[in-house]
Symmetry: C2
Subunit: 153 residues, 2 copies
């Protein structure tokens, strides 16, 4: 397979949204097209947000988001956050995701990040092994998540 890992192009919004169907098959619907386009423009125009994709013959088969956040601790080195890691269901277990993670981490290190973090569903053992293979350490940090419903204050 001749796969290239690269930043997404502005015209690839609909291809990305199709790929996201493989991330959360039962996801809630998107708002109207104009709102989606505005969010897309926000993502594209923000130098702190990178959307990386794996491209096989002009088809997007995997993607992830990397956010690089400016920071004033740890020698003022930024930290990175990875979200929305997805590989098309037909192309899993072929190393595409690993190449994508490798690319995202290299980007983060080249931007001087002192760490890159992510949270993974506790039940997804397979994803955990994937992230460990990709160079992430498990167990040193506990993930905490709040949602509008669970806030009890």
């Amino acid at each position: 397979m001749d796969i290239s890992i690269r930043g997404i192009q502005p015209h690839e919004l609909s291809a990305l949204l199709n790929l996201y169907k493989h991330l959360n098959p039962k996801d809630v619907p998107l708002p109207d097209e104009l709102s989606v386009q505005q969010i897309w423009n926000q993502i594209l125009s923000d130098p702190k947000i990178e959307c990386f994709v794996a491209d096989l013959d002009r088809h997007l088969i995997a993607s992830c988001i990397l956010v690089v956040v400016p920071n004033l601790t740890r020698g003022a080195r930024p930290y990175g956050l990875i979200e929305n890691v997805v590989t098309h269901i037909d192309y899993r277990r072929q190393g595409v995701g690993l190449r994508l993670m490798h690319h995202a981490l290299q980007f983060a290190w080249s931007h001087n990040c002192y760490k890159v973090m992510l949270l993974s569903n506790a039940e997804r053992q397979e994803a955990h092994q994937f992230y460990e293979r990709a160079g992430f350490k498990k167990g040193s940090k506990i993930g905490f998540v709040a949602t509008p419903n669970t806030v009890s204050l």
Copy 2:
């Protein structure tokens, strides 16, 4: 104590840096003043990054960073990330941090976030109880962290 929770002001950089000494007492040194000021300007000018503080008689006694990231999954609702949560050592266990977290979460919900996440050192049991009291759920997500040194790809 008459404490107000609010966004940080541009002139409060040095007060924030002093407060950060209570976060990582053995943190690596910051770069030169100009570089720090440039990063500070980046943080201040980015509408996606909020630095909240607890102010007691014009002294900063607690702070946290909230990043609100535009997103195209989950109905295109953004997600939030909280980092650099710190309370001055003289003002811990007095509910200041809880009020700060509450403020940050309310801000996130008012900006339509579908979740707010954070990672906490696995060994800091006390911090875990704090985050659970603040409305965060533990155990549903595993934290993964990569650093430049642990990357083995």
